[in-house]
């Protein structure tokens, strides 16, 4: 079992959109994701492997990476006081139904909630149109908002804790955009972020 780390005053300056009030937690650190020389990097790269690789020889590594990440969450987060927590995945850049839609974060939380029977997954936030690829333009939280929608039906029955989940946190733009939306619907809940890894850029 590994201890989570918090992005605190020491680490905050690496994540430009986060503020000292934000509570974001991570398991692992990456200096850069594009280093070719370690298996550690390939774990995250496999987790993020694009859907267009489906059916190819390397596709099995994605499933393995999702299981490995799930295990990290399950081992590292027991016993969550699950009745008090809603897990919300940060949506992928593609719409549901798009051939390249990737539900890796949903799978990760599902595995976690299956292992902790009281955990609740709610896909509250979804994209209403495909987002432009991040390598073309890194969006700020405000620039993301037009792409994000809240499923209001899923906002009933609030709980004290909302945990926003994503694979990696870099500048924190996705987290802040989702946090802002959730805040409107869950004004009295504590909204935190949970990530496999933090990356520096």
């Amino acid at each position: 079992m590994y201890r989570l780390q918090k992005i605190d005053e020491l680490l905050l300056s690496s994540h430009q959109y986060l503020t000292p009030e934000d509570e974001c937690f991570f398991f692992r650190s990456y200096t850069r994701l594009d280093l070719g020389f370690t298996k550690e990097n390939s774990f995250i790269m496999n987790f993020k492997k694009k859907m267009e690789r489906k059916g190819k020889n390397d596709w099995k590594y994605k499933a393995q990476a999702i299981l490995e990440a799930s295990d990290l969450f399950i081992q590292g987060t027991p016993p969550i006081n699950a009745p008090d927590v809603i897990f919300v995945p940060i949506p992928p850049s593609r719409m549901k139904g798009d051939p390249l839609y990737d539900d890796r974060n949903v799978q990760l939380i599902s595995n976690l909630c299956n292992a902790k029977p009281n955990g609740e997954l709610r896909e509250i936030i979804y994209v209403n149109q495909n987002m432009p690829p991040t390598h073309e333009h890194k969006m700020s939280p405000d620039e993301m908002l037009p792409y994000l929608e809240v499923d209001e039906a899923l906002c009933r029955d609030p709980k004290p804790n909302i945990v926003v989940v994503d694979d990696v946190i870099t500048e924190g733009a996705h987290f802040k955009a989702c946090q802002g939306l959730l805040r409107q619907w869950f004004p009295n809940s504590r909204i935190t972020g949970l990530f496999i890894a933090r990356t520096l850029h």
Partner: protein, 291 residues
């Protein structure tokens, strides 16, 4: 704090201040800390310090941590990032400071160490081995001291390789001064590591601080799969590393010329305990690639 399980998430700066506060007590040694955390394996430094102890040094510690021209991060026992290789060390290290590319620790690492006052032949060996290790995709680790260490780092960088410097000073100090530029380069483009507490170091005489150099050698050995001693006198810190390497079940290489120096007896001593005498890079590489 939201409890994810029965363990509290690590707040890095809080643990740094606590670690520094533990060290602010003059009675603290590597052994006392190691014993403390061996008795309480799931603890953090902050479990052992009072609010008063923290308050007494917090501002000064923050000045050290935020006063450098690079970002400091920490590796702390119990987290995923903490290098498990360190558990082979006799005295348990609970916290390391670093800046740079952490992923280097997941590669094959070989230490090259030796005297601060090398012969031209010794420098040539350090240069050749570092260059070839880099070309063969090993990460070259050393201690940023004068002489052999400096040569090992420089030759690795010149060969386009990866290098890690394990300091015997805190991250904010440079020793010797001439290595200022090299240390900055390693911090910004490679990986710089130190276990040495900023605050305690700043309050002690340099003669006492010298002990940190020896502790650094034990850590350097633990972080690597092998150590090569190129050239060293009878009182060199490299010999601390040699003993640590054998204790930690790491490969220990001693360059052939050391055995020919009649003024020293350590090569024979370590050879009898399992060190490997090598006279060329290919021989060293072959040993590295053996199970």
């Amino acid at each position: 704090m939201l409890q994810f399980g029965n363990t509290t998430p690590v707040q890095p700066l809080k643990e740094i201040v606590a670690y520094e506060a533990l060290w602010a007590n003059k009675k603290t040694t590597w052994k006392s800390l190691s014993d403390l955390f061996a008795q309480h394996p799931d603890s953090l430094p902050s479990d052992f310090v009072s609010g008063d102890q923290v308050n007494a040094i917090e501002d000064e510690v923050k000045k050290f941590v935020f006063g450098m021209n690079f970002r400091t991060s920490l590796l702390i026992s119990g987290t995923f990032d903490f290098p498990t290789q360190l558990n082979d060390a006799k005295e348990r290290i609970v916290l390391l400071y670093y800046t740079g590319i952490l992923e280097y620790l997941k590669t094959r690492c070989v230490a090259i160490v030796g005297t601060r006052t090398p012969s031209p032949e010794g420098l040539a060996v350090a240069k050749e081995v570092a260059t070839k290790l880099a070309q063969d995709d090993f990460t070259v680790v050393s201690g940023l001291a004068s002489g052999i260490d400096t040569q090992a780092h420089q030759s690795t960088i010149a060969a386009g390789g990866r290098t890690i410097a394990v300091l015997g000073t805190p991250l904010n100090k440079v020793y010797p001064k001439e290595n200022d530029e090299l240390q900055n380069k390693i911090a910004n483009e490679h990986l710089l590591i130190s276990q040495v507490p900023f605050y305690r170091y700043s309050k002690q005489d340099y003669r006492i601080n010298k002990n940190f150099f020896l502790e650094r050698n034990k850590t350097m050995s633990a972080l690597t799969e092998a150590t090569l001693i190129v050239e060293a006198g009878e009182t060199s810190g490299s010999l601390t590393q040699a003993a640590a390497a054998l204790f930690q079940k790491r490969k220990l290489f001693i360059w052939d010329t050391c055995f020919k120096n009649k003024k020293i007896s350590w090569p024979q001593h370590f050879a009898e305990k399992g060190a490997i005498r090598v006279s060329g890079y290919e021989e060293l590489k072959e040993h590295l690639n053996r199970e």
